[in-house]
Symmetry: C2
Subunit: 397 residues, 2 copies
Amino acid sequence: MSRKCIIGQSGGPTVVINATLAGVIQGALKADYEKIYGMINGIDGLLDEKMVDLSSFKDQKNLFKLIHTPAMYLGSCRYKIFEKDQSIKQRIITILNKYEITDFFYIGGNDSMDTIEKLSTYAKICNCPINFIGIPKTIDNDLMNIDYTPGYPSACHYVATSLCEIAFDSVIYPIKSVTIVEIMGRDAGWLTASAQLVNEVYPDSIDLIYMPENIFDENDFLEQIKDKLKKKDHCIIAVSEGIRDQYGMCVSLDSGIQKDAFGHLSNNGCSNYLKKLIGDHLGCKVRAIQLSTLQRCAAHLASYIDIENALRIGSYAINCALDKRTGIMVTISKNRNEFLLSHVDIHKVANHVKPFPLEWIDEKNKKIKKEYIDYVVPLIYKSGQIELPQYLQLNER
Amino acid sequence: MSRKCIIGQSGGPTVVINATLAGVIQGALKADYEKIYGMINGIDGLLDEKMVDLSSFKDQKNLFKLIHTPAMYLGSCRYKIFEKDQSIKQRIITILNKYEITDFFYIGGNDSMDTIEKLSTYAKICNCPINFIGIPKTIDNDLMNIDYTPGYPSACHYVATSLCEIAFDSVIYPIKSVTIVEIMGRDAGWLTASAQLVNEVYPDSIDLIYMPENIFDENDFLEQIKDKLKKKDHCIIAVSEGIRDQYGMCVSLDSGIQKDAFGHLSNNGCSNYLKKLIGDHLGCKVRAIQLSTLQRCAAHLASYIDIENALRIGSYAINCALDKRTGIMVTISKNRNEFLLSHVDIHKVANHVKPFPLEWIDEKNKKIKKEYIDYVVPLIYKSGQIELPQYLQLNER
């Protein structure tokens, strides 16, 4: 039987999500798929039949460009399929049948895996033979049953490199100052933890690391800073956007916190709140830096291991479809120096969140332990060594 | 007579200010200087005799590291010498005489050249034979009588690369949205102008460019955005931090604008003000991104031409000292494919500001003209071509 597939991208971008798209296209071309469609803006666009033909990627030059293009070539959406809304599921299946789609691929994070779960379950109920396959990506690194999510290593590389440069910039004036760098991560501190990479090369350059895994206490926070500023002039803090107080409330200037379609909190920057807090209580110079969208789209600092695996994971998804797998997510695991591809039942992934291991956090010193470094370095650096630039520090200052 | 020199760094950092320091050290080592001192934290540290011996840089390995180190190896200060305060000038000369300094080098921007002017003038009056030589650096590119200031090309490279990635990130959702990117520049839009580099490779990806050279009008600003959003979903705006209204007031959320020692205004972000303005009047999604300190310290995106010239300009300053020049600033000018070094009377530089040429601004379309591109490209790209990454765009979106 001739095969026709459709590929979508969903959620927030990463630097390697287009490499995964390229991997699926490459795999489909190799397996002689009759048609390779792309959804424009994920499910959102599919419902309006906004699709493109991706066969033009037979031209290898464009495929290479696609691999290295940041953000999302096909555009994204944050479309939530509600459990009880059968009509939407039916409409999607009807559209897919109209185009004789045999395989449906969705590249995304937790919310996209929720979509794969809903559609594959519905398809089974109504005996529809379309394969629904999830392909992971997220800079948050919070998907279950996978060693790491493509996109995360590149984001870590950006965060560590930028923090290193910010640390060098922060110490130039001989005055007491605090620099707060706010890093993405609503529920888990995976990305913020990469700040510790800087300390491995330049010891004690990042003074305090705060993540959502631990309760944020304002008084303790101020005491920690006071303590640091007794010993040195400059205190540099890496903090997850999603830190919460003992009542589970986000630490933010914005009292009117909004929720998106998936019910996730969206706040307007804990760093600005913390800046005001420090200014009010300690009276020293404070700078708040948000790495903003750059941490998820800085293609010029992509991890090559990340790109390679993202590409492989895309091709592997085609193998899964040819094996008639449905209701699965493709996975990746590290075994010695190899990354192995496999797949897992989508129910074991969707709507679960993998927290950062508490035992990897040195909560007393607000640092991250060596176990994390051993975990993350092989995802970013081929040499197995942290390759932050070799800068020179004037120790006497 | 044996020579002893002292070198200081002052003002805000650039990615190549340490390359210039390395150039002075290299030149001094070659000319067999008996002593090479570094001031810790500029004039501020010199007054407390906080100095380091830089002879250790005979080790080439450390010199190479120094060339590529961001921020300021010796630390900085923002110390203003007041015209009438003879006692400070006298104290500085006394300290320099104590260490038998023959040549004083100060690497910095406009404020540092003010320091060189004050000290060289005072030295002449009291027949002190020390040579006072200014060496330019500033990402602001606003020094007079020089073709460009070292540090500026690298900052442009960072701004253009980051804006390009932000532009790709901004268009992924099919909703009306505005992205404001705030770029450094209190008085001149030199750095913000580099946003136009993105448009040269990806036409119309940066929609509007606002600089301090033109009066900022809120109503016109909102109309421009409305107009853009009629034609496309996403509007991306590059804006200088220093834009001002018709009364010369900074556009900022912060009503309590403060001044630094040199009387410069310091505001807390026009992008947050503009975000609120757009949110209140147009009601679409708005994101405000401040490139913050990264635009002046992102060594990983340095321009190699910038590094090379910064190094050369440092060595050349030593030649000027050997020729017994004082009260000068070293300059650089572009002649066909060559960069020529020379020097200029410090009075022609200090406390003047080179504005961005009004004739290079397409004020009607809020864009920058080709004349600027022809000026800036040879400072950044050796090939003479803009080397932004070759990404792939889905034109149908």
